[in-house]
């Protein structure tokens, strides 16, 4: 069926007249066109001038990835303003953006979703930065283009494409904890053919922050990434791309002295893509993307017999067809239709659920009066399980004068209930509580009741007749850009996200063993708001300083009311009596610092072919959990202390083809073993790079 589709598409594309050169179209907001204009693709699905974008966005260039030797994506993102990675207790590290949890930021590679959120978090450490061209971060709801999950924003990792000539490179690094990373990149384009080949091998002994227990904080692991891309220009107008990626990770799995085994992740993605320029003004892309994520783990007891095993198997198929129509140099439209089909096989699910959704989107990108850019877009998602979603967005940027511009955007974002929230049927073997997905309640509760396991039903089953709603948000951004010269720029952005129908767990029944049965429901209303500031000062050709700051207030609206009404109490220490709290005592959501900042200094010494940098990130105190018996974070709780992390790198280039790098991450060896599991302490590395 799909083969037929390809053939039709290819015939269709051939039958078009071929009479114009492919040219990158860009909207220019300035008379002078700088030679190296930065482009961003995540905001409009086509290469677009970054400087005139009406949305709050950041670009992390390949140069920064290279000079800071950020092998792990999480290292890199942690140093960006307003981004922080948070680890879940399963060990995955996810990103927090504008104060929103990691499940609300869509992670894309080349515009396509990365799957495998086994517990909501997408572990960023799975993504290797070795063949990354640039990383684009778009803040604010972006469901108008990307649908579910893009509630808080989008992080799009753009990988390299085959280029003219023959380029290859070999990278090796050795760092603390016996971590070794070896990459080989081959990139060539001969006439119509382009090939990109990337292979990476990473091994590490992991690390242990807490002595005296049988486990390490991170157990030894190894992983491999293989990525190949083939491109073929059928003509100047038609480009075929086939891309394949495979990631395998194995890690020791230790639960107790007597129980240990191994966990394995296996991930494949395939992309087939046709780009066709019908003429200067109309271009189409057809993409067929498939992804599979498998996670398996087992535990053996002391005599080597199998104690437990579990598996998670997710498959995604996503064809999409999109076209851009440029009316003229100032006005263009992009529209797309697509289908997402997804299924998960997991032991703890009531069946093998399938999600099917079809979607269509359209977006206008316009530029007028020589000073105003406008983006208007909307997307419609029709889903077989949850309610359909309509996600509009509008953004405007006005250039007041050559130095000064303002921009503002408003958008709707949503996150569909995930498979776990709908189909989970899990009973904890050790403690005896049960967690049921929303759609599993009507089936499992009567079953538990007939087995005599229920003492009482607290929420009647009829409450689960309606569908669980998608979590949704309205996000608003307002920003000011000030750039008095090419040497200095300052961006300030105010943001506010109002989230509704947040999915939380509640107790729905009590079991005869005294434990609860939990299920999911739409309840909470939460907001995050704050201010983000980014500045860059190029002192001269060799010295640049950048600084960033984020102020964040993130609160649950119901909890805020509870505090206001004096319904929340606390204790100073566990053996002292309770006292009443008021609104001023409410700190906000867990895991969020009020202030975060970073300063980076880049210093080049050309006569020695030396590039150096020094980077500091800082965050103020935050709470991890309630410590005084009221389930919310108040100023009498125990907080994780503020901390800063200092890092530096030196890279020397020899005979243009060779590079040697040395660096220290976390120079002052900051650690907080009790509270922060993903900060391993000081890491020293040395790396070698050869451009063949």
């Amino acid at each position: 069926m799909l083969n037929k589709f390809y053939i039709i598409l290819i015939i269709l594309t051939y039958s078009q007249s071929l009479n114009s050169q492919e040219k990158e179209k860009m909207v220019n907001d300035s008379v002078k066109i700088r030679k190296l204009e930065q482009v961003i693709v995540s905001a409009t699905r086509v290469k677009r001038q970054f400087s005139s974008l009406p949305l709050p966005a950041q670009i992390i260039l390949n140069k920064e990835i290279r000079t800071t030797n950020s092998i792990r994506l999480s290292d890199l993102l942690n140093e960006q303003t307003g981004l922080i990675t948070v680890s879940d207790f399963g060990g995955g590290e996810g990103i927090q953006l504008q104060g929103l949890d990691s499940q609300y930021t869509l992670i894309l590679i080349d515009g396509l979703p990365v799957i495998g959120r086994s517990a909501g978090t997408l572990d960023l450490n799975r993504i290797n930065t070795g063949n990354v061209q640039q990383i684009e971060v778009v803040k604010g709801a972006s469901s108008s283009l990307y649908g579910s999950e893009a509630l808080g924003g989008v992080i799009n990792i753009i990988t390299k494409m085959p280029k003219d000539g023959l380029n290859s490179s070999l990278d090796y690094s050795l760092s603390t904890f016996n971590s070794q990373d070896l990459s080989f990149n081959l990139n060539t384009k001969i006439k119509q053919f382009g090939i990109l080949f990337f292979i990476n091998n990473h091994i590490s002994d992991g690390y242990d922050l807490l002595d005296g227990d049988f486990q390490q904080t991170v157990e030894p692991f190894k992983n491999h990434t293989l990525n190949t891309k083939l491109t073929y220009n059928i003509s100047e107008k038609i480009l075929l791309t086939a891309s394949f990626k495979n990631y395998i990770e194995t890690q020791n799995n230790v639960v107790s002295k007597s129980l240990n085994g191994e966990s394995e992740i296996n991930e494949w993605t395939n992309l087939f893509k046709i780009d066709h320029s019908f003429n200067e003004n109309i271009k189409s892309t057809f993409e067929f993307y498939t992804a599979r994520y498998q996670a398996k783990e087992y535990l053996n007891d002391i005599s080597g017999n199998l104690f437990s095993k579990s598996s998670f198997d997710q498959v995604l198929i996503k064809p999409e067809l999109r076209s851009t129509f440029s009316l003229d140099k100032q006005n263009s439209f992009i529209g797309g239709i697509g289908l997402t089909s997804e299924r998960i096989d997991r032991v703890e699910f009531i069946d093998t659920p399938k999600f099917n959704s079809t979607y269509a989107y359209i977006q206008y990108d316009g530029y007028f009066n020589n000073n105003t850019s406008l983006i208007l877009g909307a997307r419609f998602d029709n889903h077989n399980v949850y309610n359909s979603q309509f996600s509009p967005k509008a953004a405007i940027r006005v250039k007041i004068n050559n130095n000064f511009s303002i921009k503002s955007s408003i958008g709707y974002g949503f996150k569909a209930p995930d498979f776990r929230q709908l189909y989970f049927n899990f009973s904890n073997a050790t403690f005896g509580y049960t967690v049921l997905g929303y759609n599993a309640v009507s089936k499992i509760i009567p079953q538990l009741k007939s087995e005599g396991q229920l003492a009482s039903i607290i929420v009647p089953i009829s409450n689960f007749d309606n569908e669980l709603k998608a979590e949704n948000a309205i996000s608003f951004n307002f920003g000011i850009n000030y750039s008095p010269s090419s040497k200095f720029k300052l961006d300030i952005n105010f943001f506010r996200n109002d989230i509704k129908d947040l999915i939380d767990t509640q107790v729905i029944a009590q079991k005869t063993n005294g434990q609860n049965v939990f299920s999911y429901y739409n309840i909470a209303r939460v907001f995050t708001e704050g201010l983000e500031l980014n500045s860059l000062w190029k002192i001269n050709n060799n010295v640049a300083i950048s600084g960033g700051y984020q102020l964040l207030i993130a609160k649950d609206k119901e909890t805020e009311i509870q505090f206001k009404n004096g319904n929340i109490y606390a204790r100073l220490n566990p053996s002292s009596p309770s006292f009443q709290l008021n609104s001023n005592d409410y700190f906000g959501l867990f895991n969020r610092s009020r202030h975060m900042g970073n300063i980076k200094i880049f210093y080049n010494i050309p006569k020695w072919n030396l590039e150096t940098n020094l980077r500091v990130t800082y965050r103020t105190k935050y709470g991890l959990s309630d410590t005084n018996g009221n389930n919310s974070l108040d100023k009498y709780d125990n907080f994780v202390n503020p901390y800063s992390i200092w890092s530096m790198d030196v890279t020397k280039t020899l005979y243009t083809k060779y590079q040697i790098g040395y660096g220290v991450k976390n120079i002052f060896d900051f650690k907080d073993p009790q509270n922060i599991s993903n900060i391993a302490g000081k890491i020293i590395y040395i790396k070698f790079n050869i451009n063949l």
């Binding site: 207790f89 009973s427 073997a429 050790t430 403690f431 005896g432 509580y433 003492a455 009482s456 607290i458 929420v459 009647p460 107790v507 009590q510 063993n513 005294g514 434990q515 609860n516 319904n567 929340i568 109490y569 606390a570 204790r571 220490n573 566990p574 053996s575 002292s576 009596p577 309770s578 006292f579 009443q580 959990s625 309630d626 410590t627 005084n628 018996g629 009221n630 389930n631 125990n638």
Partner: protein, 210 residues
Amino acid sequence: MKNFKLFILLTTAITGFNSCSEEEDAIQLLPVQTKQITNLHAPQSGGMGQPVSGDFVKFNFSTGETTTNDKEWDIAFRGTSIIVNGGTSLETIDEPNRTGKGAVYIASGTMASVTEIDTTLLTQDSESNYAILTGGGNGWYDYAGPPTHLISPIAGKILVFKTHDGLYAKVEILSYYKDSPSQPDAFKDGPNYYTFNYVYQPNKGIVIFE
């Protein structure tokens, strides 16, 4: 949840007209007793998916001590469960029969702010539920779940009891771990060790704690 509260309200409204209306001579009033009990150890067997068993540790407010007497006890502890000497047994293994007038409700407030007993809220144990519901967030404690598995008394929850002989006491549970550590560890610090403050009103028919 609301329905459940309503249910409690209704049942107490129907069955709860048992407060004493006799006035005693004000001059003869006994002083209100305030005390702290530390490390009352109330372990349980089973649990974790298995049937729960083990003796309840019974407590008497007027003596301020634990007791093994089958009748003269007011409240009893086993694991995280607290029962009253009034109502019907849930009939778990080793559960004592109720012989007294005991009942309870959970008030929001501090020990100081709960000064008057609302006798209409008092509930007894029943064959379907203990009056103090079990499970995290339902009764007197929160359960943190993995990875800490901590049981923490909810701040601002005052347990108001009617004793087996129809008197009143209010209780604030402070800790579930041995020696009330400031940062308890559910795996290292012994669980099932109750530390609580209580105020006992030894005068019949008095519904205020003064």
